[in-house]
C-alpha cells in the first residue's frame, strides 16, 4: 500500500453509528445518548420505587398491631433497612440523575453530555448495585442494622448482608460521583454561546449545586464505608470499641455525606418545581436570582449541618450549638424558594393539570417537613424526639412530600417531551388525589406518635399507640394503590396517547424548541436564545403558540420566539461536522 493509499484509507469516513435510540433494544444496551440514559435511569429507579414501596407496606403491615405477628423481628429490621436504602439510593437519587441527564443538554442547547461514555458507565453501575442489594434478601442474610448502619451493631449482626450493603453503596456512590462530574462539566462548558449563567433555566442551577455537593460529600461516605468494611472483614477496630475504636467517628463520617444527601435528593426537584410552576401559571418565575443563589446557599450550608443527627450521641455541648445555628439558617434559603413559588402563582393564570397539581402538592407538603425540620434543629427539643416517629414523619414529609411529589410533577411536565405523547389528565388527577390523601394519612399522625413516645425502628410497641398506627397503615395502603393508575396511565399514554406536538405547554426553555421526542443530537444546528427562560407575558414573548395548535411546527415554529436557527458558522450537512 502506498503512502497515498494509506492516507486515503485512514481518512475515509467510516460509518460511525450515531448514539441515540433507534429501537427498543437500545434501552437495554450500552447506549451513550443522554436521552436514552435519562430514560434508563428514570425507568430503573421507578422499578426500585415499586420494590421499596412493597417493603414499606410490609413494614406498615407489621406495625398495624403492637405485637410481632407478621414477620420475624430480624426480617422486619431487614425490611426497613432495605426500604430506606432502596428509596434513597435507588429511587430518588437516580431519578434526579435521570432528569438531569435528559434535560441538561436540551436546556443548554448541547448535543449531548460532556462525557457520553462516562455517562453510560455511571448508569450501568445502578442496576447491578440494586440487584446485589435485593439478592441479599434471597441469600437470607439481608442487612438489618438500619440504613445508617451504625457500628458496633452493624459489625455484630448479619455480616454477609452488611458486606453486600457496603459494596452496593460504594457502587452507587461511585455512580453518582461520575454523574456529577459529567453534569458540572456539561453545565460549565457546553452551554450555547449567548447563554450566560443568568440565562440558564433554574433546573440547571439546581443540578449545578447538587453536583457540587455530591462531589464534596460522597467521598467521605465512601471512606467511612471502606473503614467499616475493614472492621467487618479484616478485624480492624476503626469503629469497634472492643479494640479502642470509636463508633461516634463513623457517625460523623456517615452524616457528613448523608445529611447533604437530603439536599442532593431535594435540590433537583426544587429545580424541577421552578420549571413547572411558571409554565403552568403563565408568569415569569418570581425572583430568578434569589432562587438560583438560594440553591447554591443550600448546597454550601448543607455541608456544615451534619452533627444535628448526633445531638444525643457523644458530641460536646458547645458543638451542638454550632450545628443548631447552621441547621436553623438553612431554613432561610429554603423559605426564599417557597415564597418565590407562591409569588409566581400569585396573579397568574394557573392551569390545573397533573404537573401543576403535583407542584402545588409539593409546596404544600414540603412546607410541613421544613417547619418540623426547624423544630428538630432546636437542641433541647431534638433531644426529646430524636430517633422517634416525629423524625420519621419529618423525613417522609421532606422526601415523599418533597422529592417524590417533585418527581411526579416533573414526569407529568416532561412526559410529552420524552415520549411525544400527552399523558391522560384524568388519571393523572386521580393519581394526585390518592397520593395526597395517602401521604397525609400515613405521615401526619406520626408526628403525634413520636411526641408521645414511640421510638422508631421497632417491630413491637406500646399498645396505647395501636390506633394511630392502624391509621398510618391504611394510609400506606392508599399510597400503594395510588401508583396503579400512574403505571397504567404512563404505559397506555406512551403507546396510544394523543400526539403532543413539540411544545404543548407553550414553554420558553430550550428543551421545548425541538421535536418531541427530540431527535438524535437534539437540535438542528445550534439554537439561538431570543428571550430568557421565563419571559411569560412580556411583550416580546406575546406571540406564543396557542394551546390548541393542532400541529405545532418543528423546532419552535415561526410563532416561537425561541427559534432553533441553524448557525451559519456550523455546516448544516452532518457529514461535514
Amino acid at each position: 500500500m502506498t503512502q497515498a493509499q494509506l492516507q486515503e484509507t485512514a481518512n475515509f469516513p467510516v460509518l460511525v453509528p450515531e448514539p441515540g435510540e433507534r429501537h427498543w433494544r437500545d434501552y437495554f444496551s450500552f447506549n451513550t445518548d443522554h436521552k436514552v440514559i435519562g430514560l434508563q435511569y428514570l425507568v430503573t429507579s421507578f422499578i426500585f420505587y415499586c420494590i421499596g414501596g412493597v417493603m414499606a407496606d410490609l413494614v406498615r403491615t407489621e406495625l398495624r398491631t403492637p405485637e410481632v405477628d407478621f414477620v420475624t423481628p430480624e426480617v422486619y429490621n431487614s425490611l426497613f433497612t432495605l426500604h430506606a436504602t432502596i428509596m434513597i439510593f435507588l429511587w430518588i437519587l437516580p431519578a434526579g440523575a435521570g432528569f438531569a441527564n435528559y434535560l441538561i443538554p436540551l436546556m443548554i442547547g448541547a448535543k449531548d453530555m460532556a462525557f457520553p461514555r462516562l455517562n453510560a458507565v455511571a448508569f450501568w453501575m445502578v442496576p447491578p448495585a440494586g440487584l446485589l442489594l435485593i439478592a441479599s434478601l434471597v441469600v437470607g442474610d439481608a442487612p438489618d442494622a438500619g440504613w445508617t448502619s451504625y457500628p458496633p451493631l452493624s459489625l455484630v449482626t448479619g455480616q454477609v448482608g452488611e458486606g453486600i450493603w457496603i459494596i452496593s453503596l460504594l457502587l452507587l456512590g461511585t455512580s453518582s460521583i461520575l454523574g456529577s462530574i459529567n453534569f458540572l462539566v456539561t453545565l460549565l462548558k457546553m452551554r450555547i454561546p449567548g447563554m450566560g449563567f443568568h440565562q440558564m433555566p433554574l433546573f440547571c442551577w439546581a443540578m449545578f449545586s447538587t453536583s457540587a455537593l455530591v462531589l464534596l460529600s460522597t467521598p467521605v461516605l465512601a471512606a467511612g464505608l471502606i473503614l467499616l468494611s475493614f472492621d467487618l472483614i479484616a478485624g480492624t477496630t476503626f469503629f469497634n470499641p472492643t479494640g479502642g475504636g470509636d463508633p461516634v467517628v463513623y457517625q460523623h463520617m456517615f452524616w457528613f455525606y448523608s445529611h447533604p444527601a437530603v439536599y442532593i435528593m431535594i435540590l433537583p426537584f426544587f429545580g424541577a418545581i421552578s420549571e413547572v410552576i411558571p409554565v403552568h401559571s403563565r408568569k415569569p418565575i418570581f425572583g430568578y436570582k434569589a432562587i438560583a443563589y438560594s440553591s447554591l446557599a443550600i448546597s454550601f450550608l448543607g455541608l456544615i449541618v451534619w452533627a444535628h443527627h448526633m445531638f444525643t450521641s457523644g458530641v460536646p455541648g458547645w458543638l451542638r450549638m454550632f450545628f443548631m445555628i447552621t441547621t436553623m439558617i438553612i431554613a432561610v434559603p429554603t423559605g426564599i424558594k417557597i415564597f418565590s413559588w407562591l409569588a409566581t402563582m400569585w396573579g397568574g393564570k394557573i392551569q390545573f393539570n397533573s404537573a401543576m397539581l403535583f407542584a402545588m402538592g409539593f409546596v404544600g407538603t414540603f412546607v410541613i417537613g421544613g417547619i418540623s425540620g426547624v423544630m428538630l434543629a432546636a437542641v433541647p427539643f431534638d433531644i426529646h424526639v430524636h430517633d422517634t416517629y416525629f423524625v420519621v414523619a419529618h423525613l417522609h414529609y421532606v422526601l415523599f412530600g418533597g422529592s417524590v411529589l417533585g418527581i411526579f410533577a416533573a414526569i407529568y411536565h416532561w412526559f410529552p417531551k420524552m415520549t411525544g405523547r400527552m399523558i391522560n389528565e384524568f388519571w393523572g388527577q386521580v393519581h394526585f388525589a390518592l397520593t395526597i390523601i395517602g401521604l397525609n394519612m400515613t405521615f401526619l399522625p406520626m408526628h403525634k406518635l413520636g411526641l408521645m413516645g414511640m421510638n422508631r425502628r421497632v417491630a413491637q410497641y406500646d399498645p396505647k399507640f395501636a390506633l394511630i398506627n392502624e391509621i398510618c397503615t391504611y394510609g400506606s395502603y392508599i399510597l400503594a394503590v395510588s401508583t396503579i393508575p400512574f403505571i397504567i396511565n404512563v404505559i397506555w399514554s406512551w403507546l396510544y396517547g394523543k400526539k403532543a406536538g413539540n411544545n404543548p405547554w407553550r414553554a420558553l426553555t430550550l428543551e421545548w424548541m425541538t421535536t418531541s421526542p427530540p431527535a438524535i443530537e437534539n437540535f438542528e444546528g445550534i439554537p439561538v436564545l431570543a428571550t430568557g427562560p421565563y419571559d411569560y407575558g412580556l411583550e416580546k414573548a406575546d406571540e406564543g403558540v396557542p394551546l390548541s395548535d393542532p400541529d405545532p411546527v418543528l423546532s419552535g415554529g415561526p410563532n416561537s420566539v425561541l427559534r432553533a436557527e441553524p448557525d451559519p458558522a456550523v455546516a448544516a450537512n452532518p457529514e461535514d461536522r
Partner: protein, 360 residues
C-alpha cells in the same frame, strides 16, 4: 361599600395570630412533663408550635387562595402579568425567617443552658485511662504525665459483668453476639452531655445511678449502696445523675416524660442530670436501634416520694446481699476453663472434650 385590602390583610393577620397563639398552647401533643427539665423544653416546643402554626397557615392559605383566585378560566390563553421580582418584598421574606430562626436559636440556647448543656464539667476532656497508658507508643506521653492513671475500679463495668453472669440476663440476650466481652476496655472516654443546670453546676449530684445498656435490658446500679436492679427508682425533687455506658452496641436512654435522651455508647461513658418532679411509673425506652428485639428493650422508671424511695432502697440492699452470695457461688474463677467455656462454645459446634484437651 368595598373594604380596602389593607384592612383585610390586617384582619387576616390578627386572626392568624390568635389561632397560632391558641394552638401553640393547646395542641395536646406531648405526654405529661415529669421532670423540671421537661417543663422548660415544653415551653420551647409551644413557642415553636405557635410560630409554625402561623407559617403553615400563611403558606397553605396563599396556596389555596391562588388556586381559587388565579385559576385559568376556560378560553383564556393569555399570560399572567409579568411580575419578575420585587426587591423590598424579597428582602422582607428573607429577613422575617432569619429573625424567627435567630429568635428560636436564642430561646433554645437559653433552655439548653438551663437544663445544664453548658455545665463546665461537660467540656473536660476524657481522662487518660489505664488501658491507653499501656498501649504501645504511649510510653513518652506516659512519662511526661505526672498524674497516675486512673486505677479506681470501674463500677459500671464490674456491675455489668456481674449482670452478664446472672441467668436472668442471659435469658434475654444472646451472649455470643458480644465481641470479646472479657477484653472490653474500661469505660474511659467520658462524654457528659446534659450536666448540672447553672445553679447546680459544679456541685455533685444528689443521687448517682450507673446504667448499663445491653441487648436487650437495662441494668441499674446505685454506687452508694451497691444495689443492682432492672428498674429505675428515683425520688421526687432530688437531682439525679445517670452515668451510662453500653456493653455491646449503642443504646439510648429515653424517658419521654422527662424529655431527655442520651446514647449509651460502648467504650464511652455519658451522663445526664435531671430532677424528677411528678410521681408515677414511666417507660424507659431504648431509642437507638440495637438489634431485632430493640422494641422490647424497655423497663420502668418509678418516680416516688423520698420516703418510699428510701424504703425501696432498704429492701433492695437486703435482697441484694442474698443475690451477691449466690453470685459468689457462681464465680467463674472457681470453674475450670472448659466448664466456663462450654455454654459459649456449644453453639459453635465445639465439643467439651476438645476444650478439655486444649486446656490440659
Amino acid at each position: 361599600m368595598k373594604i380596602p385590602s389593607s384592612i383585610w390583610t390586617l384582619l387576616v393577620g390578627i386572626g392568624l395570630t390568635l389561632i397560632s397563639l391558641w394552638y401553640g398552647q393547646n395542641h395536646g401533643l406531648l405526654p405529661a412533663a415529669a421532670s423540671d427539665e421537661a417543663v422548660l423544653i415544653d415551653g420551647l416546643f409551644n413557642a415553636m408550635m405557635t410560630v409554625s402554626t402561623g407559617i403553615f397557615l400563611i403558606v397553605e392559605g396563599v396556596l389555596i387562595y391562588c388556586a381559587f383566585k388565579y385559576r385559568r378560566r376556560a378560553g383564556d390563553s393569555e399570560d399572567g402579568l409579568p411580575v419578575e421580582g420585587n426587591v423590598p418584598l424579597e428582602i422582607l421574606w428573607t429577613a422575617i425567617p432569619a429573625v424567627i430562626v435567630i429568635g428560636i436559636s436564642v430561646y433554645s440556647f437559653e433552655v439548653y443552658n438551663d437544663i445544664g448543656g453548658f455545665d463546665p464539667h461537660a467540656i473536660h476532656e476524657s481522662p487518660m485511662t489505664q488501658s491507653s497508658m499501656t498501649m504501645p507508643g504511649t510510653a513518652i506521653a506516659a512519662t511526661l504525665n505526672d498524674t497516675p492513671g486512673n486505677t479506681a475500679p470501674n463500677l459500671n463495668q464490674e456491675k455489668s459483668d456481674e449482670a452478664m453472669q446472672d441467668p436472668a440476663t442471659a435469658a434475654v440476650r444472646n451472649a455470643e453476639q458480644i465481641p470479646q466481652k472479657q477484653n472490653a476496655p474500661g469505660v474511659g472516654s467520658v462524654a457528659p452531655t446534659i450536666g448540672g443546670s447553672p445553679e447546680k453546676a459544679g456541685k455533685p449530684p444528689e443521687l448517682v445511678v450507673n446504667v448499663t445498656g445491653l441487648q436487650y435490658a437495662w441494668i441499674f446500679t446505685y454506687p452508694e449502696t451497691g444495689i443492682t436492679t432492672g428498674e429505675l427508682h428515683v425520688p421526687i425533687g432530688r437531682e439525679v445523675q445517670i452515668s451510662m455506658t453500653a456493653n455491646d452496641v449503642i443504646h439510648a436512654f429515653w424517658v419521654p416524660e422527662f424529655r431527655l435522651k442520651q446514647d449509651a455508647i460502648p467504650g464511652r461513658q455519658s451522663e445526664i442530670r435531671f430532677t424528677p418532679k411528678q410521681e408515677g411509673d414511666y417507660a424507659l425506652i431504648c431509642a437507638e436501634l440495637c438489634g431485632p428485639y430493640h422494641g422490647a428493650m424497655r423497663t420502668q422508671v418509678i418516680v416516688e416520694k423520698p420516703e418510699a424511695f428510701a424504703k425501696w432502697m432498704q429492701e433492695q440492699v437486703a435482697a441484694n446481699t442474698d443475690t451477691l452470695n449466690q453470685a459468689v457461688a457462681l464465680n467463674p474463677a472457681d470453674l475450670s476453663p472448659h466448664e466456663f467455656l462450654t455454654p459459649y462454645t456449644k453453639d459453635m459446634g465445639i465439643q467439651p472434650e476438645i476444650l478439655k484437651q486444649i486446656h490440659k
